[in-house]
Symmetry: C2
Subunit: 306 residues, 2 copies
Amino acid sequence: MPVVPQNLLNLNSEETKKLFNSFQTILVDCDGVLWYDDQQIPLTSETVNALLEQGKDVYFVTNNSTKTRHELWLKARAMNFSINESNIISPTYSVASYLKAHLLEGKAYVIGGEALAKELTAMDIEFFGPGPDFIERSLADTVEMVDKETSEGNIQAVIVGFDEHFSYKKMLRACNFLHNNETCIFLATNDNAVVKYPHRSIPDTGALVAAVETCVERKALIMGKPNRAVADKLINEGLISPEKTLMIGDCVKTDVVFGKHCGFSTLLVGTGRYQWKHVEKFLEMKLFQYVPDFYIPSLGDFKQYL
Amino acid sequence: MPVVPQNLLNLNSEETKKLFNSFQTILVDCDGVLWYDDQQIPLTSETVNALLEQGKDVYFVTNNSTKTRHELWLKARAMNFSINESNIISPTYSVASYLKAHLLEGKAYVIGGEALAKELTAMDIEFFGPGPDFIERSLADTVEMVDKETSEGNIQAVIVGFDEHFSYKKMLRACNFLHNNETCIFLATNDNAVVKYPHRSIPDTGALVAAVETCVERKALIMGKPNRAVADKLINEGLISPEKTLMIGDCVKTDVVFGKHCGFSTLLVGTGRYQWKHVEKFLEMKLFQYVPDFYIPSLGDFKQYL
């Protein structure tokens, strides 16, 4: 369905205010929208706090699986965002919550880092896996060991999150646990493929998920954007109404597509990889799923209208 | 295009002989057709040697990247197959040959094992990569190191083969080398996803390729079946005529599809994962790309007709 995106730079102050008043809930992505690593993007906390003061419901919705929800909250507080911890939606927390509800017996095998481990521990979920884990003797010995673990370990879930210690041995484990047990839960925190810095490329969780999905011949349930499962609970419990909700993000494949999956309006900010010229390009190429309803160079540019 | 497969069990001896006489070239897959690991499948060497004595051109075409072509030949000789080394087509050898022709300067980065390293060494190709390679200090330090390597290393090719030491650090290297250099050659030995033994699942090269392809946002050139590139040289040099060639294999996705890509006739043997009942199933599901022209329970069953 064709979309006509609006560049908010072309609206006057009254029109922009009116537009904002039409939303009750604002979902905001974090990396590239509120901050870059440890550097806050100018005026973003002032904007978010003004929205909160106006009585809007604001949620931070990130795909970052290297921090727990609590750590994200501490970071946000340190940057003066007046957000509540329970209004932060992070995939490590979502995975732990899902397992709390669905892993009725047995253990989870975790490809992932410290943050995922902390969230699972906090919810008393039995798991193993994080940390370095490589083939030290022969492949044959390792296969033997994994075989024993598979038959005796009662492993009922396999989770994939960002893991700098990802290895063939971890793939071997996941592969056998999942092939051996058709009802084994298979979750991933997110499927972002790569993080691109100006001169560097960091493989992201999606690349690890692709490896595991290929050898296990199954698809993981993705607990991150753009999967609408991320917002299902809020929608189902009536906490947010899609038609009164705006999703703000810097990534079209993750944030804009997520907003569309959920029936939200979408606003692209130009502080990430995409600017207005890309929006025009997507329109031209008829890639309507990437075309947001609105565009603004930076979230901080809002402050003047609030 | 619908195919009517013939179960050779339903043909008489004369009909089968006549059928065989219509082919000049016979391509045979190895694992699951000639042998399982170190165990030969009964009567397969007698069958192959009888074909050679009748003047047929026989090629062994494997996707196995854990052995060099020479090692495969030694194994075949030890099992009494009278095949020439030059009639064995293996992906480690194909990758090395491709690089010999196309890597005009710089080094190759290799995710892969000893066999790939030996083939490259034998052809005097400069490379690095095989063996254990994990993040020992922090991710940030490793990123720094890979960044330096990327800008100073003159890396002009990235190869992915089977590697039990596959790791996040290897993905990080491949990702940066390929993103940094648009003309960097990107090859994979094969894309088989998983090897299934009765009770075990071994992730295969295809799962490693999927991980690297996802984070580099490029597709590798696959030097194994079912890519017709495997046979292009033989066809282009007039060494084989597709219409007089039979491809024999045990795997529909690899061997049967490969045969169809090349315009060969195809024969499925029942010594792998697929038997006649599966052929009937594929027909029913209209998965014609998986339906061979002919079926026989084992390659050894041929011997009686030769």
